[in-house]
Symmetry: C2
């Protein structure tokens, strides 16, 4: 069994759930892949903890965070404050999981500095944090390549949907004439509620209570979140150097409640749609705006718990991918997906052998038609 | 620019279109990836041709096949007959593209023998041919691993949809509780026509004329095709050694036309559904049967030109992937996808850098909201 010492920065919605997943999946990771994850350093906004020798108990981290505390209060190994960057700079780890909240206004810190430092130190990085990639995509990709390590960020776009993986790996050699995405749940959730008769304030309050909407909602409701995700898709999949200033975006708050209700009664749904449309010159026009989708549109029947992306291509047809997530677990699980892809892609020299036969389970033999 | 000498066996629906794609995409492959494909040997059922020195002109192959001829008639380099296996055994190539028709009754030959020989010789293999994988999945995967080469078959399931890739790469560490797939176009195409009022014979004749249905239709209409695809998904994604005899399957011909019409009028669609359902013991129950899907089902609104797969998982949510293909081009393009994945995955040491920035194209700069 190969041990993978890792650092986790950010133990909120995604980070804490990753700890739960890592705990619950430990037997499967050991039996199927001969891997064992060992948390050697962890930090949240108030403190940190470090234990390279025995590893930090995931249950203790989960318990303290569920109780609203900080990992800085972990007995013996905790300290507060303990700057995240210092944890990353010292940790004896192979990989950083950077799951701190998006923070464009503060230059995506401390996430960006942590990622830079980890890559410089030769650590792989997995992050569902959009901020650093939106601000420094090119720099970080090149830094990882120079250091010969992996930077993965499949969780930055559309939660648990492997939208980046699909676009990067399965459309090579193709030309994407158009990309459409509903890359978050929150805006659809709110618009569906308003469509069904709630006031904007009620809908926003419900989304906040549900955990779908974070902070004061500005990031999601005014289109920043969708635009940031489009910036990442444009860089990573369309292969175009893109910044926030390249996207024309608007949010959903300027929509009239009556308009949403009318659409709802006509069986249509509004979604905040991120679009990249290839122009005759080979450029892409990038925009985010609320759009009334008919049921015929590939994203026109998304529930409040679904996100999706559509790639319109020349040789690969039109590919639609949707994810339904009732909880943030699939978003948190993208970190496991990325981590396993880094380790299994290498270990086995190719993806195809990365899911070895599970012994013990057998197909139920039913009547043979042959 | 790196030259990739390849052998192509089978120049029908998919093989001929691959030649067209390779021809049309040559500039893009050179500019974006620094790769050049060179056809050094090609074979169809009647003859073959070989030219390792200058490579075989793709346009000549396309022209002769469009005219209904055999590549054995290619001037100077052609010969007929020329057994496919002999071409593969002699060719000085790095990779075999095996696109001969499915032929389970004849032991998946000549495809299976060609694939075995290529792998033994240390060539990579890409194939959209289900037969060899259905009959010898385990043997071929292990042979490729022993020889240190890649065997890719993303085109064996659901045409151009990266159903295998998605299942193998993006769900690692997860448990699939249920898998549902509509893995071919032909059966839905026929049932939709009958639902709209055509007789079975008319619908089958139309599907044959459209090119959707091949041969006498038995393979598709009686469920063999869907069952074979489920066998591959079960082996490749569920990680279970599976054979045709493990699948309980039926086709669509026992359905009553009146039943299809009633469903159609009620806004529902019948689809031949391949399913793997995990049982409490960790086994999977594998079946193929026609099912009346409501519009709420993730595959309930597929058009006659769409296929799809749904993975119901524990930690990755429910992931739906659909492909719409108006022509066989996306199915043929899976060979390019697989080939590029083999070469770019290696060349760059990781997928993320495989789509370098395209120079020349720029994002159109629109008003900045920042």
């Amino acid at each position: 069994v190969r041990e993978i010492p890792f650092v986790l920065i950010g133990v909120g919605n995604l980070g804490r759930r990753f700890c739960e997943i890592a705990r619950d999946k430990a037997p499967l990771l050991r039996d199927e892949f001969e891997l064992a994850l060992r948390l050697v350093a962890v930090g949240d906004s108030q403190g940190g903890a470090c234990d390279a020798e025995t590893g930090i108990d995931l249950d203790s981290v989960v318990a303290i965070k569920r109780g609203g505390g900080t990992v800085g209060d972990l007995p013996v190994i905790g300290r507060k404050p303990w700057p995240a960057l210092d944890l990353v700079a010292r940790a004896d780890a192979e990989i950083l999981l950077e799951a701190s909240p998006v923070n464009l206004a503060l230059g995506a810190q401390p996430g960006l500095a942590c990622i830079r430092t980890a890559l410089e130190r030769g650590m792989h990085v997995v992050t569902p944090n959009k901020g650093p990639l939106v601000l420094a995509y090119d720099e970080l990709i090149q830094l990882a390549a120079r250091r010969g390590v992996e930077l993965r960020y499949d969780g930055t776009v559309a939660g648990g949907l492997p939208a980046v993986n699909l676009g990067q790996r399965d459309l090579r050699g193709g030309v994407i004439s158009r990309l459409e995405a509903v890359p978050n749940l929150s805006t659809g959730f709110v618009m569906d509620l308003v469509g069904r008769g709630a006031s904007w304030n009620e809908a926003i309050a419900l989304a906040a209570r549900d955990g779908t909407l974070e902070g004061d909602g500005t990031w999601d409701l005014d289109g920043w979140d969708a635009a940031a995700k489009l910036v990442i898709l444009s860089n990573a999949v369309l292969g175009i150097r893109t910044h926030m200033s390249d996207v024309r975006f608007e949010g959903i708050r300027s929509l009239d409640a009556a308009t949403l209700r009318e659409a709802h009664q006509a069986g249509k749904r509004y979604r905040l749609l991120a679009r990249a449309i290839r122009t005759s010159s080979g450029c892409y026009d990038l925009s985010v705006s609320p759009v009334c989708l008919t049921v015929e549109h590939p994203l026109g029947r998304l529930s409040s718990k679904q996100m999706g992306v559509v790639y319109y291509t020349d040789i690969y047809g039109t590919i639609v991918a949707l994810v339904e997530e009732q909880t943030p677990i699939p978003s948190a699980a993208t970190m496991l997906r990325d981590l396993l892809d880094i380790y299994l892609g290498r270990q086995f020299g190719g993806d195809k052998k990365s899911r070895p036969y599970t012994t013990g389970s057998r197909v139920r033999w039913s009547q043979s038609p042959l």
